[in-house]
């Protein structure tokens, strides 16, 4: 047991912490008599917590079946909302006057401490976020004089609002992985490469950038798209064919891919999770806000790549 602790990387402790928080949410859900689906919801967060705590030590098949079990809970619509002992609007208004601008301190601490740890230590920003959120929670409890248990009820309120979307990002990453195993990438990039005229530099640049954006939209991830499209179009047609500088086209193609990320529901952690997190009604509200900027930026990246060629 102790040996296992020594072997753990800093990030494993972060996963352990997330797992413990999820298990607490799960227990609170199980005992929440006012919850409309307390068993399903409790089980969902329990399974997710197990995946965080023990994921690295279980076989990949068991991890996979855990995910399928969580999907089954969603399929049978067993996720719901409970009683989080929320405060009344009048209480919030009084507290806003009583506590004043000090209430912003925990919120700012999360960002500032994450920054300091990420920038000045070797632990990285993810570990920084974990440490920052513990410190910020302690400060918030001191400022508000609230109880620890209540802070978890409030956290559970937010998590239940996010619901199944919470695991969507990881599942989409898994889908991208399966696409890769199946060879979807190679097939699409050979299709794109076959329709581009090899002698027109501008059209190759257009095909490379739009190919990056389009393929990123399918895979949900510009990194996955980059290797495929660069080895199909960027390097053979631009670098080898027209003497382009790989240090120029690489970064700009990646940024063209990011324009695709802004436009796809496949990039759920950027585009769909915030919809749940901000309690928006329109599932595609964030994507709609991003499409105009993404299209202008894609055009500019095409022009920049052609200009620097």
């Amino acid at each position: 047991m102790l040996e296992l602790l020594y072997k753990m990387q800093p990030l494993d402790f972060v996963y352990l912490l997330v797992g413990i928080i999820l298990v607490i949410f799960s227990i609170q859900s199980f005992v929440d008599k006012d919850h409309n689906h307390r068993i399903g919801t409790g089980l969902f967060w329990l399974l997710y917590g197990i995946s965080f705590i023990f994921g690295s030590y279980m076989s990949k098949e068991i991890n996979g079946w855990l995910v399928i079990a969580m999907a089954a809970i969603v399929l049978f619509k067993q996720l719901g909302k409970g009683n989080y002992f929320e405060s009344a609007i009048d209480f919030k208004k009084m507290e806003a006057l009583r506590i004043g601008n000090v209430i912003f301190i925990p919120a700012l601490l999360v960002g500032i401490i994450t920054f300091i740890i990420g920038f000045f230590t070797k632990l990285g920003a993810l570990v920084g976020l974990a440490i920052a959120s513990i410190i910020a929670l302690c400060v918030a409890l001191y400022i508000t004089k609230a109880k620890v248990g209540q802070s978890f009820h409030e956290g559970r309120r937010l998590l239940d609002a996010i619901g199944w979307t919470a695991i969507l990002s990881q599942l989409l990453a898994a889908l991208g992985y399966l696409f890769n195993l199946a060879g979807v990438g190679k097939l699409i990039s050979s299709m794109v490469a076959s329709i581009v005229p090899a002698d027109n530099v501008f059209l190759i640049v257009v095909a490379y950038c739009i190919g990056m954006a389009f393929f990123t939209m399918i895979m949900g991830n510009a990194f996955a798209a980059f290797a495929m499209i660069t080895s199909a179009i960027g390097v053979p047609m631009l670098v080898a064919g027209h003497g382009a500088n790989p240090a120029v086209i690489g970064p700009i193609a990646m940024l063209a891919g990011y324009c695709g990320t802004l436009m796809t529901p496949m990039a759920a952690n950027f585009n769909i999770v915030p919809v749940a997190l901000l309690e928006m009604k329109d599932t595609y509200g964030v994507i709609k806000a991003q499409i105009p900027v993404a299209i202008v930026m894609l055009t500019l990246n095409i022009l920049l790549m052609y200009y620097f060629l």
Partner: protein
């Protein structure tokens, strides 16, 4: 060609508005089966990637803090603060946040800005700046929140490759070397600068336009309220009278 059927399942499933989570699982199985993988291999692949990508979902860490701050009037305080600053508009708040986000991510800090900054601070402040105490509808709120979230994403994406050890640049280096070309990180980082500046300028123009159009949306809400089509609920959000009768949700 048959291995593309998973993409078809995704597109059709999302278009028919089935639950996205279930559509993704279905698409995964269709893709895996069409490539000749066994059920066990598909489940194993899902499990492997799911666990490897846990870093994407660390937001649970911050939820108790945000929740407790909201319980004790964080949003209400943001309204008071923004109400005192005459010059505050949603667009100007986004402008400042975009700058902060681009600069911090360029210094190598990839934080979960959506959870840590947008939900507790940027979104309530910009909502307060737009509403100025007037009740506004959910669709107006959605427009503000959509742009707030997009500001975080744009700052993140178009700032991160200015950091020398950014994951994106390391990947480009790796891919180029695989293909037989040596590239230097210090060269590549320079070619991210024009796009980063363009992204800021394009966004600022967009924020100016947003400040104008969102007021039209608020005016429409006011007209709907005068006509009796919408009524404010206890959270000062405009809903239809039927929705109010059902509990204001």
């Amino acid at each position: 060609m048959i291995i593309l059927s998973g993409i078809l399942v995704m597109v059709i499933g999302l278009m028919l508005r089935f639950n996205a989570l279930l559509v993704v699982i279905a698409a995964g199985f269709v893709t895996g089966l069409s490539a000749g993988l066994s059920i066990n291999e598909i489940v194993g692949a899902i499990g492997e990637a799911f666990v490897k990508n846990r870093y994407m979902s660390l937001f649970a860490l911050v939820l108790p803090v945000i929740g407790i701050m909201e319980r004790h009037g964080l949003r209400e305080r943001a309204e008071i603060l923004i109400g005192k600053i005459q010059a505050a508009t949603a667009g100007r708040i986004f402008m400042i946040y975009l700058f902060v986000r681009q600069v911090t991510v360029a210094l190598g800090i990839s934080m979960s800005g959506l959870v840590a900054m947008v939900r507790p601070l940027i979104s309530p402040m910009s909502e307060a700046a737009v509403a100025q105490g007037r009740p506004i509808s959910q669709s107006t709120l959605d427009k503000i929140r959509g742009v707030a979230a997009s500001t975080d994403n744009i700052g993140n994406f178009f700032g991160q490759n200015l950091f020398l050890a950014a994951g994106g640049l390391l990947l480009i280096k790796g891919v180029m070397e695989q293909l037989g070309y040596n590239v230097e990180l210090t060269d590549m980082v320079l070619y991210g600068v024009p796009t980063a500046i363009c992204a800021y300028i394009v966004s600022v123009i967009r924020f100016f336009i947003f400040d104008k159009t969102i007021q039209a949306s608020v005016a429409q809400d006011e007209a709907d309220m005068k006509a009796g089509k919408l009524v404010p609920n206890e959270l000062n959000i405009l809903v239809t009278p039927e929705e109010l009768a059902k509990g204001g949700k």
